[in-house]
């Protein structure tokens, strides 16, 4: 479901489908595995994601909470205008970095 690419100072995870309730647990597991293996700076690239629901938001929040505890950082990049508005309406863009396409 997700491509994972290691970079110099972070790891980039790119889901290849929408992040909704039916697959949010799968993404949560992938992110948990990255954190467990020592990654503290995670980038989630949403270039291929058109829909994100509250289950997906919950995965991002849980990931941010875990990384923050470990002194790390979550960045969410390449978000569509609609998903950017969702992050803004829920004010989650104030919790972690969200960058539009």
């Amino acid at each position: 479901m997700s491509q994972v690419v290691n970079q110099a100072d972070s790891v980039v995870l790119t889901p290849d489908t929408d992040v909704v309730a039916s697959n949010a647990q799968q993404l949560r597991t992938s992110l948990f595995d990255l954190i467990q293996s020592g990654h503290s700076r995670i980038v989630i690239d949403l270039q291929q994601v058109a829909m994100l629901d509250s289950a997906g938001l919950g995965v991002f929040i849980a990931t941010h909470n875990s990384l923050k505890t470990a002194g790390g950082e979550l960045r969410v990049i390449n978000v569509s205008p609609n998903i950017l508005r969702l992050f803004q309406l829920t004010r989650l863009d104030r919790r972690f970095v969200v960058e539009s396409r």
Partner: protein, 146 residues
Amino acid sequence: MECLSITHGVHQMSVDFASTLEHVDAAVHALMVFIQQQQIPYEPFDLELVLREALTNAVRHGNHLDAARLVRCAMQVDQDILQITVTDEGEGFDWQQQLQEPRLDSPGGRGGWLMQLYGFEVTYNPAGNVLCLSKPFDHPIAGDMV
């Protein structure tokens, strides 16, 4: 009983489906095809998000992911308003809590709040197993009013 069945009218549609998250995806897809045919003046993303929250709540909190229980989503398009009714076969749940804004660091509990945030009037029956959503066509979303 099929796992997903669809009933169509000219300006109304209903979908019955088994309580799995995969069936939520299929039901939302069918409902969005109907919505596009009706040329409802909403941003498709907004409506799909609200449908996903409503149906996922019914499947997860109403029917507790019991595939033997059904969820029905009925949609009615009138001249200037969209009305959606979602009925599950559960005993009801604490829907009042679902409508409150959650803590910013809370991973869950945003479903009902999001439906309101996107401009829908959200009401449940007292038991909490029938959800009614409505939104006039000219109603802005909450975030656009501030």
